[in-house]
């Protein structure tokens, strides 16, 4: 969905277009199956861990007329676990078969998307967002937000592509104005109008 060249409603999906969309239309690779299976399994394991350490949850299981708070978690966790195992198994089978006969196995998701390096910026954003509330509590919402927004906009501006002072000055102006705009709109909307008690 990330690419701007999503095929329009008139064009058939087989026309290709953006890489992610086209990739999604292809059958899942065995390796991705394994990752998907592990993903679901991780959720299930976390869930089982919590259920297993929760004594209260079982005390009421069929104690009265109510089947109790444990029923649904057990059913859903069971379903997720089975589903995860099924996907893992099918991935494994296909992976092994793929090794036997070349040509059917796909590349790893990391390779097909340009290496792990492409995750650096998104995860960096997540990391700064994780410390942003702490900074917010220390120096206030306005300052922290201005700092965060301006910092990231400047970091993301493609400086190398810009030639000369004029263009760089313009880019800086754009960054400053958009920071003021974003911070202003957020402050107006959330603090002035709806009185959200942001620090």
């Amino acid at each position: 969905m990330a690419s701007p060249s999503i095929p329009g409603p008139q064009s058939a999906p087989s026309d290709g277009g953006a890489a992610p969309a086209a990739a999604a239309a292809q059958p899942s690779t065995p390796l991705r199956d394994l990752l998907v299976g592990l993903f679901f399994l991780a959720w299930a394991a976390t869930g089982w861990l919590s259920v297993a350490t929760n004594e209260q949850i079982f005390s009421d299981l069929y104690a009265g007329l109510d089947p109790g708070p444990a029923l649904m978690p057990l059913l859903v966790l069971g379903a997720v676990t089975l589903g995860a195992v099924a996907i893992l198994a099918s991935g494994l089978v296909r992976l092994l078969r793929g090794k036997a006969g070349p040509g059917t196995g796909g590349g790893s998701p990391a390779a097909e998307e340009g290496g792990l390096r492409r995750h650096l910026v998104p995860l960096g954003l997540l990391a700064t967002l994780a410390v942003y509330p702490t900074i917010m509590e220390a120096i206030g919402y306005l300052a922290a937000t201005a700092f965060f927004v301006l910092g990231w906009i400047l970091a993301l501006t493609g400086w190398r592509g810009l030639a000369g002072r004029g263009e760089r000055g313009l880019a800086l102006a754009v960054a400053l104005v958009s920071t003021a705009l974003i911070v202003g709109i957020l402050y107006l909307g959330f603090v002035v109008v709806i009185h959200a008690p942001l620090p």
């Binding site: 754009v174 104005v177 958009s178 402050y187 009185h195």
Partner: protein
């Protein structure tokens, strides 16, 4: 290409809007100015979502308190954990008097049920808003017309009547449980999430009776589809003056919810005093009482001391019931 065209326009538009936005910010920041306490906005924290009884009461207070103070009073909903999150938010707020909470009787029950809930000794009662007496309603097609009929029916066949109420610990659950222990009967208690779903459950015929405050059923009572058997308070309810109390029918039974404002522990005494006077004065205003009546509230303001006494009273009444129902999981009394 596209970008080089769009930037100048973007800058121009943006600059204008940014100036406007900042101007708005400034105006907002310089609004509050006064010496002494209070000199900044007071927040009333409601632990239930917008639209509920607690929320309506808080917004009404916030609206009328403006008559008596120059600082803005805003309502903020901090919801979750069955009401415990909002209470905890207030208990853990800075004890400067600018954060006030509103609580109901479920606060008292919650401290025994949920180990993480705020305990009564962690907060400071401020001003009592008023009671929200419990009542007993049945579908008209059950043919039950008095409290005695109801009790007799249950005595003859325990568990034969399904009653709609809150989850364990909620105020209408407590009323139902109190009826059970007081009269030695057993009903089938069916939990609903809040009052509106309980009303819908009774109207749909899923349950035959309910233990909600009367204002939920005024219309259905007048239309004749629901019988209100009795009000669990000392006096009749002004919304349905023809419905007798339990006492009038020979059953000494008073129960129900109430609402009160409270502060975190540790607010300086002079500030507590100032807030107590401010809110007591606001709630004593006849115009406020009238506005409250319109919304179905009984408004009987009380000072901090009486409020604390009332809370202790509730505590003593419901603790045995919770203990009996196996709901006391923490803070067990010796």
């Amino acid at each position: 290409m596209n970008r080089s065209i769009s930037i100048p326009k973007f800058v121009r538009l943006g600059a204008a809007a940014a100036v406007l936005a900042l101007a708005g910010t400034m105006a907002g920041a310089t609004g509050a100015a006064a010496a002494g306490f209070p000199d900044q906005a007071i927040t009333i924290v409601v632990n239930w979502p917008a639209g509920g009884g607690q929320d309506t009461a808080a917004r009404l207070i916030a609206d009328y308190v403006a008559k008596n103070t120059s600082v803005p009073v805003v309502v903020s909903n901090v919801t979750g954990a069955g009401g415990a999150a909002g209470i905890r938010h207030v208990a853990e707020a800075a004890p400067d008097g600018y954060t006030i909470g509103i609580m109901g009787s479920s606060f008292v029950a919650r401290q025994y049920i949920n180990p993480n809930a705020t305990r009564l000794d962690q907060v400071e009662p401020l001003v009592f808003f008023g009671p929200d007496p419990g009542a007993l309603e049945v579908r008209a097609d059950t043919g039950i017309k008095t409290v005695k009929d109801y009790i007799d029916r249950l005595k003859a066949k325990p568990g034969s009547i399904t009653n709609g109420n809150d989850a364990p610990g909620g105020s209408s659950y407590i009323v139902a449980a109190l009826i059970e222990s007081k009269f030695g009967v057993k009903m089938t208690k069916v939990p609903y999430q809040g009052y509106a779903p309980t009303v819908a459950g009774l109207l749909a015929g899923e349950v035959q009776s309910a233990t909600l405050p009367v204002h939920q059923f005024v219309d259905q009572y007048k239309a004749g589809t629901v019988n209100i058997l009795g009000v669990a308070s000392d006096e009749r309810h002004f919304l349905v003056p023809d419905v007798p109390t339990f006492k009038e029918q020979g059953f000494d039974f008073v129960a129900g919810d109430w609402r009160a404002l409270f502060l975190p522990k540790g607010v300086p005494a002079d500030r507590v005093k100032a807030l107590e006077e401010l809110f007591y004065k606001t709630m004593s205003d006849p115009a406020f009482v009238e506005a409250g009546r319109k919304a179905g509230f009984v408004v009987t303001p009380m000072h901090a001391k009486e409020t604390a006494a009332r809370i202790v009273e509730t505590d003593e009444a419901i603790y045995p019931v919770l203990l009996e129902a196996g709901l006391v999981k923490t803070n067990k009394k010796q």
